[in-house]
C-alpha cells in the first residue's frame, strides 16, 4: 500500500445496496483506533404490534405477512403457530407437511435471491447481478430458474409467491390433490441438481479471513433440520421452549435504529440464521445436503460469516430434497384445516425464517380479539451481532483504503442477509439500556 490511511477518518455508506429494506453503515476511527461502528436502520416504523391490538385472531396470518415481502410465509407460519398455541390446537400430519412444503418454497426463493442476485456479485467483483450476468449469464439464468421453482411451490400451494392467500389458522383454505402436486416433481428434481451445482460454485469463492465467538442460536429438533418448531438451543447451552423466549432474550432501543436490539440475558450478542442452524443441526440434514456440505468443506464449527453463502446453498439442497420427500409421501387430508376456536389466553410460536428464528406472541380474549402482540424478527436479533462482527473485522483491517474497507464492510453486512423491512417493527420494552 502506497499511502497509509489517515489516523482519523469516518466511513459512511448512506444507503446499503442489495439488502432488503433501508439501512446505512457508520464507522468512526479516531487516532488510529476504531471508535464506533453502527449499522443504522432508518426503515420507517410501521407499528404492526400496535395496530394488531383489536384485530381478530384469524387476521395475523395475512397482516403480519406484510411485514416482509421476502419471507411472508415465515410470518404466516409463526403467527399461526402462536395463535394455535393460544387456542390449544396442534396442526400436524399432512397439513403440517403442506405447511413445511410451502416453507420449502420460501427458503428456496429467498436463499437463491440472496445467493445469486444479492451476494455472489460481492465475491466475483460486480456491482450487481445484472452486470454479473454479462460474464456469467448461465450461472445467473440457472439461479433464476432455481428461484422460480421455489416460487412455483409457493404459487401452487399458496396462490402467489408474495403474501400467499391460502394460509389460515388451522391449515389452509384449500389443499391440493396428489395429482396437483405432481407437476412440481420434475422441476424440483432439476432444482436439486442445480442446487448441488450451486453449492460447488459458491464453495469455490474466495473468502476473506473473519470469525467471531458469538453464541449461535437456532431451533433444534432431533427428528429433522428444524424449521417449523422445536426447542431453541445454542452453542452456549441455551435450551428453551417458545413460552420462555422473553425470559432469555431481551430487547433494547438504541438511537441509531428503528429496529430494537436483542441480547441474550446476561450473555450479550448472539447470532441466528444459517451459520447457527448448521452448527446446531448439521446432523439432521438429509443425505444430499449433508454430502454437499462435506464436499464443500463446511465444518460444523464454521464461524466465518463470509461462508454463510455456502450454508445457504446447502440449505437450498435440503429444501429441494425435503419438498420432494413431502410430495412423495403426500396423502390429501380429509379437511383443508382443523377448527381453531378462540379462548382467552396467551400463545407463542416460532419458526426458522430464512434469516433465522422468528418469534411471535399473542394474547387474545375469549371472543378472539387480540389484546397484545409481540414479534421478534431475526434481523433485530442479529443486529448487535452484525455490529460486533463488523467492529472486529474493521479493527483487523484498518490498514485498508477507505474504499476497500467500505466495500468489505458492506459485504460483511450482506453476509447476514439482513432483512431490514422485517427488523423494523417492535415490541414492548422490558429493559431500557440506552
Amino acid at each position: 500500500m502506497t499511502h497509509r490511511p489517515p489516523a482519523t477518518r469516518t466511513l459512511k455508506v448512506d444507503a446499503l445496496a442489495r439488502v432488503e429494506g433501508e439501512g446505512a453503515m457508520h464507522v468512526e476511527v479516531r487516532d488510529g483506533r476504531l471508535h464506533d461502528v453502527q449499522l443504522r436502520i432508518y426503515e420507517p416504523p410501521r407499528f404492526f404490534e400496535a395496530f394488531l391490538r383489536g384485530r381478530r385472531y384469524t387476521e395475523p396470518a395475512d397482516i403480519t405477512a406484510r411485514i416482509c415481502g421476502i419471507c411472508p410465509v415465515a410470518y404466516q407460519m409463526s403467527a399461526c403457530s402462536a395463535i394455535e398455541d393460544a387456542c390449544g390446537v396442534v396442526v400436524d400430519g399432512p397439513l403440517r407437511d403442506l405447511r413445511r412444503l410451502l416453507y420449502c418454497g420460501e427458503w428456496i426463493e429467498s436463499h437463491v435471491l440472496h445467493i445469486v442476485l444479492l451476494h455472489a456479485p460481492d465475491f466475483l467483483g460486480y456491482e450487481n447481478a445484472i452486470e454479473m450476468a454479462g460474464d456469467h449469464r448461465e450461472r445467473v439464468e440457472a439461479g433464476l430458474a432455481l428461484k422460480k421453482v421455489g416460487n412455483d411451490v409457493l404459487e401452487l400451494l399458496g396462490g402467489r409467491a408474495i403474501h400467499p392467500v391460502n394460509v389460515r389458522v388451522g391449515g389452509f383454505y384449500r389443499v391440493p390433490t396428489r395429482a396437483e402436486l405432481e407437476p412440481l416433481v420434475d422441476p424440483l428434481r432439476r432444482a436439486l441438481d442445480t442446487a448441488l451445482a450451486m453449492v460447488e460454485w459458491v464453495a469455490g469463492f474466495e473468502f476473506p479471513e473473519a470469525g467471531h465467538s458469538m453464541e449461535l442460536v437456532a431451533l433444534s429438533d432431533p427428528s429433522d433440520y428444524a424449521v417449523m418448531g422445536g426447542r431453541l438451543r445454542s452453542t452456549g447451552g441455551l435450551d428453551i421452549a417458545s413460552a420462555e423466549f422473553s425470559d432469555h432474550i431481551v430487547e433494547s432501543h438504541v438511537e441509531h435504529s428503528t429496529a430494537l436490539h436483542a441480547h441474550l440475558l446476561e450473555r450479550g450478542e448472539f447470532l441466528v440464521g444459517p451459520l447457527a442452524r448448521f452448527a446446531l443441526n448439521h446432523a439432521q440434514l438429509g443425505d444430499e445436503a449433508r454430502h454437499a456440505a462435506a464436499a464443500a468443506g463446511l465444518e460444523p464449527g464454521e464461524r466465518n460469516s463470509f461462508r454463510s453463502i455456502v450454508v445457504r446453498a446447502v440449505e437450498v439442497v435440503q429444501s429441494c430434497s425435503e419438498a420432494l420427500r413431502i410430495i412423495e409421501g403426500y396423502e390429501r387430508p380429509d379437511a383443508p384445516n382443523v377448527a381453531v376456536e378462540p379462548r382467552a389466553g396467551v400463545g407463542t410460536g416460532w419458526t426458522e425464517a430464512p434469516r433465522g428464528t422468528l418469534w411471535h406472541r399473542y394474547e387474545i380474549d375469549d371472543a378472539g380479539t387480540i389484546l397484545d402482540a409481540t414479534i421478534v424478527p431475526p434481523t433485530s436479533q442479529n443486529q448487535p451481532a452484525i455490529e460486533h462482527d463488523l467492529f472486529h473485522f474493521v479493527e483487523a483491517n484498518l490498514d485498508l483504503s477507505d474504499d476497500e474497507l467500505r466495500h468489505r464492510s458492506e459485504q460483511l453486512i450482506r453476509n447476514y442477509d439482513p432483512c431490514i423491512s422485517c427488523a423494523t417493527h417492535f415490541l414492548d420494552l422490558t429493559v431500557d439500556r440506552t
Binding site: V19, F51, G69, N128, I130
Partner: protein, 256 residues
C-alpha cells in the same frame, strides 16, 4: 428506470425480481439505473443525492416520515413518468391503520424511547403529495401486470389495466362464485381486479388487497357481508386492512 422505496415490506419491488423468466430480458431493454435492492445504486449522480433524470420511476411504499415528504418531491422532479406500485404507494398500506389511531400511543406501545423516532401521524399514498402518472394496485402487485405496465410506459402506450371488480375475473376464469354457491363472505364485488381472482380459486372470499374497484359500492358491500353472517364490528375490520385509507374506505357510511 428507477425503483424507489418508501414505507413498505419490499414485496412489490421484489415482484420485479420474481419475474425470473423476464428479468434479464427486461434488463436488456430497459436500463435499471437505480434499484438499490438489486444493487444498482445509480452511480455518482443517479442515487438519492444525485440530480439525474429517469424516464420512468416505480415508487413502492407510503409516505410516513417527515423526510419522505421531501424525498417524494425529489423523486417527482427527477422522473418523467412516475408509477406507484402497490397498496402502500396507492393508499398508505396496512401501516395507514395508524391514521385512525393516536400515533403517540402507538409509539408508546412499540418504543421505549419514542423521542428517537421520527414519524408522521399518518401514512399516505404518493398521490397525496405529488402528481402520479399511474397507480398499479395490489398487495402485492401482480407480476404480469407489472411487466405489462413497464412495457406500456417504455413504448408510450396506455397501461393495459382495467378498473373493474374481481367478480369479472372470476367470470372470465369460470370460477364458481364462492359467495353465492359457498355462502362465503367475499369482497370481490367491490375490489379492484388484477390478481386473477386468486382467493376464490382457493375457496376463500376475496379479502380486498387490491383496494376498491373504480365503481366500488362500499355501502352495498357492507349489506352483503352482513347477509353472509359477518357481524358489524367485523365488517369494519374487513374493510379496514391493506387499503384502509383509500378515499372510498376511509369512512364508509355506517361502517364505523
Amino acid at each position: 428506470m428507477a425503483v424507489w422505496k418508501f414505507s413498505s415490506c419490499d414485496g412489490c419491488q421484489l415482484t420485479l425480481l420474481d419475474c425470473e423468466d423476464a428479468l434479464l430480458a427486461v434488463a436488456d431493454r430497459v436500463e435499471l439505473a437505480y434499484f438499490l435492492e438489486a444493487g444498482a445504486d445509480g452511480g455518482d449522480d443517479g442515487g438519492e443525492r444525485g440530480s439525474s433524470l429517469f424516464d420512468l420511476s416505480l415508487v413502492e411504499g407510503s409516505v410516513s416520515t417527515p423526510n419522505d415528504v421531501e424525498r417524494i418531491r425529489m423523486v417527482r422532479r427527477r422522473s418523467r413518468r412516475l408509477v406507484t406500485i402497490g397498496a402502500c404507494a396507492s393508499s398508505g398500506g396496512i401501516q395507514a391503520l395508524r391514521n385512525f389511531a393516536d400515533v403517540e400511543e402507538f409509539l408508546g406501545i412499540v418504543y421505549a424511547q419514542p423521542q428517537f423516532i421520527s414519524t408522521l401521524a399518518t401514512s399516505t399514498g404518493i398521490s397525496d403529495h405529488v402528481p402520479v402518472d399511474f397507480e398499479l394496485r395490489g398487495c402485492p402487485v401482480d407480476k404480469r401486470q407489472l411487466l405489462a405496465v413497464i412495457a406500456a410506459f417504455a413504448n408510450g402506450d396506455p397501461p393495459p389495466v382495467r378498473g373493474h371488480s374481481v367478480c369479472i375475473e372470476c367470470k372470465h376464469a369460470g370460477t364458481v362464485c364462492v359467495a353465492v354457491a359457498g355462502d362465503i363472505a367475499c369482497l370481490g364485488p367491490m375490489t379492484h381486479a388484477g390478481c386473477g381472482a386468486l382467493c376464490p380459486t382457493y375457496h376463500r372470499g376475496c379479502y380486498g388487497c387490491f383496494g376498491p374497484a373504480e365503481d366500488a359500492n362500499v355501502a352495498a358491500m357492507g349489506v352483503e357481508l352482513r347477509r353472509r353472517g359477518v357481524e358489524d364490528g367485523d365488517v369494519a375490520l374487513a374493510l379496514h386492512t391493506f387499503n384502509a385509507w383509500a378515499p372510498e374506505l376511509r369512512d364508509p357510511e355506517g361502517e364505523r
